[in-house]
């Protein structure tokens, strides 16, 4: 290991905050009751789950009764998409999503397609923005659901959620938002936005992995995908992951604080520093996604004539954790569908790099990353047959 370790992959997952872990700890070996048990152990666990639900609801401006806990963000996405269409399939069989969704949404729509639903996929522009005009055009009398992410996990672009919500409301279409990357990082209120369903995941906001949340506006009905004991209002059966849920609650509380105290602005300042430095000091390096309408912690680039995995592993050797939409990082042959949907050529998309900052990222970290990236890009370009040495 190198001396310095700089984790800049907070879009992939975050460390559980120490305070969050403190809150969780009693619920493993001391307050281990099953919230469904009648006795004191069970009642204390139930109380803890209820309190966590209040906290998560508070983060997004929902009522606690509107939040369902699941076993992660992907599960919440699947529940929202499969569960709501299953309830409404008699009203119509047309559903809409976008070209840049996370696989959890994309593949849930793939499943709908196999079930006989008609799926329209909205394109995006070169900044990964979805156009609400396109949405309006796509809507048909038999459209029952639109699902769009709040903010993209690869390039950070924030979508016009409120505008889309208004259109869906006017047309009587259910609107699901994958808020996994946005929740806890971008201030919003589900009431003001007017969305029907919104997915969250604790591990993207300094909570534990394996716990998700689904906001379901009062009155929105979904068929469960996990049937059984009737937990979570019958919408997600199974003994509650008490410690995980408590951690999610504590993480939501932390997020509320961070959204209020200027932490997010500082994160955005550091992000901009990194963007400026990389795009100015490295030739043929450009920012991907929207220049301003983007996640405060996410800086994503394409680096010309280079391939993502090789950069990642060289960065890794320097103690830096980052990510790429390169095909080689996923084992598939195609680079990220997001970058391709934005119109990037395959060879350009292969050179993508994502740095996602976290609450403990410092300016020194930014400098360290930039310096190392500059060196690594130079080294790898010396190996690249695509790089024309200049000057």
């Amino acid at each position: 290991m190198t001396e310095r370790q700089v984790y800049m992959d907070h879009s992939a997952t975050t460390a559980v905050d120490r305070g969050v872990l403190e809150a969780m700890l009693p619920f493993f070996s001391e307050e281990y009751g099953n919230p469904n048990s009648l006795h004191a152990w069970g009642r204390r666990a139930r109380k803890a789950v209820n309190e966590a639900r209040e906290k998560v609801a508070a983060l997004i401006g929902a009522d606690a009764s509107e939040v369902i806990f699941t076993g992660g963000g992907s599960e919440a996405d699947n529940l929202a998409i499969k569960g709501s269409t299953s309830m409404r399939k008699d009203k119509g069989r047309h559903v809409i999503t976008t070209a840049i969704e996370h696989h959890a949404v994309m593949d849930a729509f793939g499943w709908l397609d196999k079930q006989g639903f008609d799926v329209t996929v909205l394109p995006v522009d070169d900044k990964a923005l979805v156009s609400v005009t396109e949405l309006e055009k796509a809507i048909r009398p038999d459209t029952i659901l639109f699902s769009m992410m709040f903010a993209n996990n690869e390039v950070g672009t924030i979508q016009p959620v409120a505008e889309a919500a208004k259109i869906c409301r006017d047309r009587g279409i259910l609107f699901h938002v994958d808020g996994v990357q946005a929740a806890g990082h971008v201030p919003f209120n589900v009431q003001d936005l007017g969305v029907d369903m919104l997915t969250m995941s604790a591990h993207k906001m300094y909570g534990p992995k394996g716990v998700g949340g689904l906001y379901l506006r009062k009155g929105v009905r979904v068929e469960p995908i996990v049937h059984g004991g009737g937990q979570e209002r019958g919408l997600r059966s199974g003994t509650e992951n008490t410690a995980g849920i408590v951690g999610f609650g504590a993480a939501a509380e932390l997020a509320v604080r961070r959204l209020a105290d200027g932490s997010i602005d500082e994160e955005a300042r550091l992000r901009d520093l990194l963007i400026k430095r990389v795009t100015s000091s490295i030739e043929e390096a450009f920012l991907t996604g929207h220049p301003t309408q983007r996640l405060p912690f996410l800086a994503s680039f394409c680096i010309g004539s280079l391939e993502g995995e090789s950069m990642l592993l060289r960065l890794d050797a320097a103690g830096i954790g980052a990510s790429s939409g390169s095909a080689c990082t996923s084992g598939s042959l195609e680079p990220s569908h997001v970058l391709l949907a934005m119109g990037l050529a395959h060879e350009v998309a292969h050179g993508s790099l994502r740095f996602s900052l976290g609450k403990d990222t410092t300016e020194e970290d930014i400098v360290y990353v930039a310096e190392n990236l500059e060196r690594i890009v130079a080294d790898l370009r010396a190996l690249s047959p695509l790089w024309k040495t200049r000057g």
Partner: protein, 132 residues
């Protein structure tokens, strides 16, 4: 995911970089797929006297390039042609299944460079023949 050998060659590749005045050059792969390998050779007495590579691609592509250039250096052209991607994978101590195609590029790169060399020789001798 990668063996130590792969990581070692990826971090410190041997025979890397462009070659001036090569006797043969082979380029294989496709930027669409995320890897291109370019092999340069100098040939003396039907043997690979010098070799270098340029590779756009992932760690296994770079390591495979480095490995294959080391393996064929000093071999006769026919011996070099007999090196298979399996030999490269073995020498690397293995590659993850989805990365084995990178070793194929290494095999093909050498073949392409030797073909290029032989084609040029033929052209030369063909061009020279009338002169003599």
């Amino acid at each position: 995911m990668y063996t130590e050998k792969v990581m070692e060659l990826f971090m410190n590749p041997k025979n890397a970089g462009r070659m001036e005045d090569p006797d043969g050059v082979g380029e294989v792969g496709n930027p669409r797929c995320g890897d291109i390998m370019k092999i340069y050779i100098k040939v003396k007495d039907d043997r690979i006297a010098d070799i270098s590579f340029e590779t756009f691609g992932c760690a296994s592509a770079i390591a495979s390039s480095s490995m294959v250039t080391e393996m064929v250096k000093g071999l006769t052209l026919d011996e070099a042609l007999a090196i298979s991607n399996k030999d490269v994978v073995n020498a690397l101590g293995g590659l993850p299944p989805q990365k084995v195609h990178c070793s194929l590029l290494a095999e093909e790169g050498i073949q392409a460079a030797i073909e290029d060399y032989r084609a040029k020789q033929k052209a030369k001798s063909g061009a020279a023949a009338p002169k003599s």
